[in-house]
Each structure stands twice: as C-alpha cells, then as structure tokens.
C-alpha cells in the first residue's frame, strides 16, 4: 500500500510540476552559459519586459480554462492605453493635480478594457458567437477605434504618466509589482473561489456544468470582466513604459500571452491550467529569449526556436494525456504503483 501511494504521489508530482522543473533546469543552464544572466539587473530587466504579456497571459489562462480565448488583447491594450494617456493629458491640461490625473487615467484605461471585454462576453454568451470570431472582430474594432481617436498619430510628452511603467517601489519596478499582485489574485481566484471551480467545470464540460446548476453565462461574463481589468492595466503599463500613446502598439501581444499559457500547461481543450504554470511558461519564454540575446543568437532563429517550443509543449501535453488514458482504460484497478 505504501509503495503505491508513493508511486502515485510521484506521478502526480511529475505531471503537475514538470513545467517548474523545466524552468529550474533552464535557469541553471542560462546562469552557466552567461555570467551576466544571474545579475539582478538582468533578472529584473527580464521580469519587467515580461510583465505586460504575462499579465495578459493570466487573463488568457482563465479564458482558456473556460474553453474560450481572447484575440483582442493587443488591440484593446492600444485603445485603453491611448485613452488613458489622453485622459491624463486632458486632466493635467485642466489643472487637475498630478495624483488625481494618474488615478483618472488608470481608471480610464481599466474601464476601456472592461467595456471591450463586456462586448466580447455579450457576443459570446448572448449571441452565441464562437469566442475565436467574437474576439477577432473586437481585435479589428478596437484597433480601428484607437487609430480613429488618435487620427493615427502617436501621443507624446506624457510627463508623470511614466510612473506606472517606469517607477519603482522600494527599488522594485512597478510593472513587476503589478505582475506579482495579479499572479496572486489569479491564483487565488482559480484556487479559492466558486468562480474558479465553475470556470474549470465549464471548460471541462459545459453541459455538465449547466446540469450542476452553474449559471454558465454569468460565469463567462465574470471571466471576461476579469480579463478586461487585466488588459486595461496592461494598456496603462505598456504606454507608460514606452512613454508614448501608441495606437499601433502592442500588436500580437495576445499571441505572446497565449504562448505563455500554453507552455505553462493550459489545455486548449479546456478545464486544465494554473496561474503558476502560466507564470512559469512566461518565464521559460523570457529566459530563452534572454539567453539567446546574451549569446548573440540571430533574432530570426530566435523566432523559430520560440515556435518550436510551443509545438513541443503541446506535443508533450498530448503525449502525457495519452499515457494517462491508456493506463486508465482498465477502469479503477490501474493507476496504482505505476512508477515507470
């Protein structure tokens, strides 16, 4: 009996933590390969660069777990970012004190992210548009709106707006603080709330979730609300970090976010994924990019490597799932003492 328990515990551990082992392994390799890798400046720099897409990745994780996704994140960043910048500039011009303008602009960014995602949720739940199509439509609309509002011009001279993306608290850069806080909130939400349990159930089997009394539509709205807040925050951080309101910025950010989620073990068939996995996925990509930069790997080659890693992550996932299925095809007498 004891051996069985140890065997199955080891299996569970291997299934759940393999991604973190990969991350640790990569960390060791990177620090061996280049002494600069381990410097606080470098690590802090990697984290700062990753922060915006990682924040998006947490939103995508929740959506993918629920059997959905958001292709509009990059465009909505552009829209919410430029609106945040514009409201900051407007408020300062109307001699609102700087702290008031900061709060106002932050709120404007988040509100825009939320508004766009409520429309996404409405298309998906009320009009039954597939999430892929609904958010693809929003991607185009939000980009258009950002360009329309700015007449295609970049907004410059942001003044104190840069504190969101370039400031720091106790010498920790603010974007990293945001990323860590959002990670904790996402982890908590998935692990500790009814919403979290419901979203896993919906992604795993929507009809069974309905039959268990879960108000599926409401849960989907909440998922997009959550995603909207994150996209809005990401918009503010991004524009602030680059010190400009870029209506053409953040293109393809949603794909970087999806990459992190997928590498982190979130399953596109729904029902599987964790916040910690996604964080690890984001850092695996970040470490790889960084070490390839430090060792002077050609940037085109870098892209190929990144793509190959997505494919490998998913192939591994499918392979591991297949193994589990073969073993379980016997009913409940298996899964014991399997240490191979």
């Amino acid at each position: 009996m004891e051996r069985r328990k140890i065997g199955s515990a080891w299996n569970t551990a291997r299934q759940q933590y393999s991604i973190f082992m990969v991350l640790a392994f990569l960390f060791v390799i990177c620090s061996r390969a280049n002494p600069n890798f381990l410097s606080i400046a470098n690590i802090s720099n990697i984290s700062r660069q990753l922060s915006v897409t990682t924040i998006l990745a947490f939103g995508e994780t929740i959506l993918i777990i629920g059997g959905m996704l958001d292709l509009s994140a990059g465009s909505v960043i552009a829209l919410s970012g430029v609106l945040a910048v514009a409201s900051f500039k407007g408020a300062v011009a109307a001699s609102v004190p700087v702290w008031g303008a900061l709060i106002l602009s932050f709120a404007a960014g988040v509100a825009t992210g939320v508004a766009c995602n409520i429309v996404n949720a409405m298309m998906i739940t009320n009009f039954k548009v597939p999430p892929f199509i609904a958010t693809l439509a929003m991607q185009t609309m939000a980009r258009g709106a950002a360009l329309l509002y700015t007449k295609g011009q970049n907004l410059l001279r942001l003044g104190d707006f840069v504190v969101f993306g370039q400031g720091s608290i106790a010498s920790v850069p603010t974007p990293i603080i945001f990323m860590v806080c959002i990670f904790i909130v996402t982890w908590y939400t998935l692990r500790h709330t009814r919403f979290g349990r419901s979203i896993y159930a919906i992604g795993g089997n929507e009809e069974a979730a309905v039959a268990s009394g879960i108000a599926v539509g409401r849960v989907k709205y909440k998922a997009f609300l959550f995603n909207g807040i994150l996209v809005g925050i990401a918009g503010v951080l991004f524009m602030s970090r680059v010190n400009a309101g870029l209506p053409n910025g953040a293109i393809n950010f949603e794909f970087q976010a999806l990459t992190a989620a997928i590498i982190g073990g979130t399953s596109f068939s729904g029902g599987i994924g964790t916040a910690a996995g996604t964080l690890a996925g984001a850092f695996i990509v970040g470490f790889l990019d960084n070490i390839m930069n430090l060792t002077g790997v050609d940037s085109y080659v870098q892209q190929i490597v990144r793509g190959a890693i997505i494919a490998l992550a998913v192939i591994y996932d499918i392979w591991a799932k297949g193994r589990r299925r073969t073993r379980s095809s016997l009913g409940d007498i298996d899964k014991k003492g399997v240490t191979a």
Partner: protein
Amino acid sequence: MSNEIRLRVAGITKLFPGVTALDGIDFAVRKGSVHVLCGENGAGKSTLMKIINGVYQADAGEIYVDERPVRINSPSDARRLGISMIFQELNYIPELTVAENFFLGEWPVNNFGRVDWRAIREATAELLQSEGLPYSPGSKLRDLTVSDIQMLEITKAVSKNCSVIIMDEPTSAITQREVEALFKKILALKARGVSIIYISHKLDEIFRIADEITVFRDGKAVGTRDASEFSIDAVISLMVGRKLENSYPKESVPLGEDILEADGISGEAFRNVTFRARRGEIVGFAGLMGAGRTEVARAMFGLDEISGGTVKVHGRAARITHPADSIKNGIAMLSEDRRRYGLIPMRSVRENCSLASLERMIYGGYLHSSEENSLVGRIFDRMRVKTPSLDTPIGSLSGGNQQKVLLAKWMLRDPDILILDEPTRGIDVGAKYEIYRLMTELVKDGKAIVMISSDLPELLGMCDRIYVMSQGTVTGELKRDEFSQETIMKYAIGAMDRARGHSYGAA
C-alpha cells in the same frame, strides 16, 4: 451449432504498467454459436476483445482462427481474418449517408481516382433490400436511431464475409422491441454459421441467446459452461466472487405527503403528463426509447422548457427554467448520458463531487480545503466509491465508480427529490447493487425518487409505483401489486402501435 472451433485463444496475457489485465486466458468460440462474456467492469472482457480485434497486442499467448495460428496486429488484420467488432458506443459520422458509411474508407474508384457514387448507392440499396432494412441509401445517419445504426453495422460486417462478430453491450442503448429485432438477427446469423461473441451485463437477456457463457473476474476466465448448465445466480456469484442474497434490496417504507406534483405538463416531446411522488416513495417511469421519459425528467430539472401545466414542489407552485431553480427547490437529477451531462472528465473526483454544493466549502471568501476533503471523503465512504485518491481525474474511474461519484455529488446537497435517469446503465453488477442499496437508504430518510429505466426487472424490483409512457403521454399507472412485465409492455407498446407502429416493427 457445430463442435467446430472457429476462434480460439490460448494463454493470452496482457500486462499494463502495474497491472495484469489478462492472466493466461483460454477461450474458444464454436462455429455458428453465441458465446456470451460476463464480468464486472474492469474484469478484462474488453481488453480481450480489443486483442482479438487487433487494437491491443497480447504480451503472451496465441490466437487461432479455424485452428491455424494467426497474428492480429491491427483491426484491419482482424477484418481480413473475418473478425469484426460492433462497439458499445457506436462511432459514426452523423452527416454521412447510409451508403457512404457502408463503404467508409474503401470507396470504389474509377480509373481517374473518382469515387463511383452510383455503384456505391446501388450496392447499398441491394444489400439493404436483401437484409430487409427499410431505409434508403441516401438517409443521413443522424436521422436513424441507435438501433438502426447497430443493424447497419451488423449488416456491414456480414456483407464483408465476417465469420466472427463481437458485440459489446449491444442492448445498452436500445429499446425492448429493438432488442427483440436484434435477437432475431443474431439467430439468423447463427443459422448462417456466423459466430458471435456477445458481451453484456443484462443477465436475463443473455440466457435467451447464449449457447455458452464465460465469466471473467480480475483478468481471469473463471468459468465456461453451456448456458443450459448455468443459472443467473451462478453467473452472478462467479462474477462477484460472492453470493448476492437478493439483487433488489427493496424495503417497504411508510409513505409521506406528496412532495413532487406535475399537473398536465407539456414540452417538446411530451404532452399533458401528470404524476406525483411522495416522501419515501420510488416512482418508476417505464417505456420504450423515445417515449418521452427522459424529456419529462429534463424538463422537470430545468434543462428543457415546460410549455404548459404546473409543477408543485412541497405543495407550492415552482417555476423551473434552469437547473439552478430546481436545485434550489431540492431536486437533483442524474442524467442518462453520464459523459455529456455528468462528468468533467479531466477534473478530480473531489471537484466533480463538490460542484453542486460549492457554497458548503467555499464561503467567507476562500476554499476550506479540509472541510471539502472531509465532506467528500465521508460521502465516498458511505457510497463505497473506489478511487485511488481524491485527486484522481474522474475520467479514469470505471463506469460504476463514476456513477457513484455523480450520485455522491447530489447526495452532498441532500436533495428531497432525486430524478435518476437510467442510473445503472452500463455499470457492473456490484455497483448496481450499491446504487439500489443507496436508493433504499434515501427513501428511508424520507426522500422521493423518480427512476427512469429501460431495465424492467430493475423497475419491478425497486419501485413502489410505475408510470408507463408511450408517444409522449402517460398511458398507464401501476401499483406494486399490479406489477408485471407483460402489463407494462402492453401499455408501452399499445399506444405506439396505434400511432406509428411502422417505423419500429420493420426489422
């Protein structure tokens, strides 16, 4: 039946990591005979059939066809040797036509690589006619019933000169009348010299067709005998390795007030249905497939719309438009389609069990893990759920244990009314018995149970009252002392013959 052996396996052993799934199986099928395999889920029947059909390869042992040793490395090898399998869950493409399905994967092509559809249609039409099947080659599969498709699969196998047909639980999803048609077909196949390996849990029906019976337990063939030398009790005790005193643990329970009343309700597939259930009562719904029983249950639970009539719960009118409404009213439902409406396959048994009662473990803003573990653990103990751990994905349990977890999910809510739609379909005898035992326990607690079942002995054994449905209406109501299979079938079929007997009686 002759004594000539068509298919024989000797010493078949199959190991899966950590388990011996099959342990030296010897087994033979005679020409033109029906050989029935029984055993609990996980006993090894399906694994053996998959080896014979080439899906798995044995780790040791030999397979002989007509006493010549053969190697079967894939289902197409099996097909070439004249072995074909009709799976329990028929996999078919709903948009295909009958003709396309018949030639699936082996469409005849002309010299330019163009598929010869006319030849396909003509060949199919001829075959359908010679087998007396009443559909056209152009009908889409989605317009046919499960039983029609099963017949097609059998016809397809026979048309390809298969001499051994494996049927895995062929009657688990078809009606009594369709079962009769299937049995007739099986007799006809036997007469042609076809051998049939027939896997079933339904002990009463296997005795009607079996020539020989082999019982499996824990990866071993524990007994093979001529059917005439076996009895149901003997088979059961071999299967479970213990004696079942009484397969229906029915106890008489004092009945309380009406807690569920439906008065003239109508929906898409039923009309003017009136029934009631009292505290302590098990109310059955009998009828053929398509009679509207499942639809009534779904509507009562809020999955489908009720377009007319009133529903009262605890004597008060209740408006039910979503399962959340019925759950609030103390109603729970176990669906007939476990995979579609029950399981979240990749999530743990713990999460599946908690899903309908999240407010019992998630309150005050966070998940009380230890409370969840003890609630779920206690209910699992009470229901004797066998699972390696609470973290095991529910999809990897056996059917019987999955069903127990789903039932446990509702028990955790402590509902007053349980609607059980085919609660024992496709699960092994041991698990069935546990579910009956639990039902008895529940009604003793003053709950009401509404049970839909296509297994008549089960309804007769467990219910206090049975409503019979046909063609979307209730055609009969029987008290326990009026129960008989014949009466129920009369009510179930009677209306059907009047209304549209044509589509069923054909095969």
